[in-house]
């Protein structure tokens, strides 16, 4: 699996993603936001961080970067695109995913482990999980509160495009388990075609025992599996 990790000014999880891709046998390369062309890549990863300092709105300025035209084309052609945290915000700003991520309802940056329920194990990003599986993964964001028009939100439920939800230990999507006020505890969604996933939590930070959890590895193993059966 050859993956491109797009680096924007202010990205700070690009290296973590790069390592995560390598850990599952992927071949990762950094692509600077001013470069053009994504030919030859099997997947594109948009890292977390604070592109352009999150000034104006998280992801708003980054989505104007030259490389984003290629990312949109790549996605439209069915190429897998994974956006994590700031990457998710950029995907929404770029219109590759519906809705927007606004300020956490608690108005504070939220940095701690959360439990996620894998609602869909049939996407190319989650095939390594079991449907309904509860995983433990860190979050670290100030603007992770998923927002959209009613119709959009209902459509997401209707079309089962909510891939990850914040839940408690036992897998219940209770309010206490919602760290940012996201509608219906949304932590991650896919586009209609299922090839673009955006999520606020950081699976790339849950890849080794020494870091407290290996539950995030599934996301990358799923991709590796479907993109290069040889890899795993």
């Amino acid at each position: 699996m050859k993956v491109a990790v797009i680096t924007f000014p202010g990205s700070n999880c690009d290296y973590d993603l790069y390592k995560a891709a390598q850990q599952v046998g992927g071949e990762a390369s950094f692509v600077w936001h001013r470069e053009r062309g994504l030919d030859g890549f099997d997947a594109v990863l948009l890292p977390g961080g604070f592109s352009y300092g999150d000034y104006l709105r998280p992801g708003a300025i980054a989505r104007m970067s030259p490389i984003m035209e290629d990312v949109v084309a790549f996605a439209d052609a069915g190429g897998p695109v994974l956006g994590i945290c700031n990457g998710f915000q950029i995907l929404c700003e770029a219109g590759l995913l519906p809705g927007a991520l606004v300020r956490n309802d608690v108005l504070k940056f939220q940095s701690h482990d959360v439990f996620l329920k894998v609602e869909r194990a049939d996407t190319l990003f989650t095939s390594a999980y079991d449907e309904g599986q509860v995983v433990r993964i860190p979050i670290a964001h100030g603007d992770g509160n998923y927002e959209a028009e009613r119709e959009t939100l209902e459509m997401l439920e209707e079309e089962e495009r909510i891939v990850f939800r914040y839940v408690d230990e036992h897998g219940h999507a209770v309010e206490e388990a919602n760290p940012n006020g996201s509608w219906h505890n949304i932590a991650g969604i896919v586009n209609e075609a299922g090839n673009v996933l955006g999520m606020m939590p950081h699976p790339e930070r849950a890849m080794e025992e020494i870091l407290g959890s290996t539950d995030g590895e599934g996301v990358f193993r799923s991709m590796a599996r479907s993109l290069s059966p040889a890899a795993t």
Binding site: L56, R57, A60, I61, M64, C92, E93, P98, G99, A100, V102, R103, N104, D105, V106, L107, N145, E147, A148, E149, G181
Partner: protein, 90 residues
């Protein structure tokens, strides 16, 4: 070319949540300002721009809003030409 000062007022769309406004409202009430009925927080972007005319200035700022300054999903915006180098304008 004249310089114009344009004001872009970006507001959270009615109906959508405004965590900041909510928090301030709560804080004001608990500080004893019970008369406060509602609080909303928006941002205002002040732009100094060179243009041939106020209209030209307005038009390009409106395009900036569509392209970058406001997020149609969550925000409404309003563009005001406040003043020119020569002084107040429309």
């Amino acid at each position: 070319m004249t310089q114009y000062l344009i004001e872009v007022r970006v507001k959270p769309r009615p109906g959508l949540l405004d965590p900041q406004g909510k928090a301030i409202h709560h804080a004001l009430n608990s500080l004893g300002w019970t008369g406060v009925e509602d609080v909303r927080v928006g941002k205002t972007i002040y732009i100094d721009i060179e243009a041939e005319s106020a209209d030209e200035a307005r038009t390009s700022v409106e395009e900036m809003c569509r392209k970058l300054l406001a997020n149609p999903v969550t925000e409404d915006y309003e563009v005001l030409v406040v003043e020119t180098a020569e002084g107040a304008a429309s």
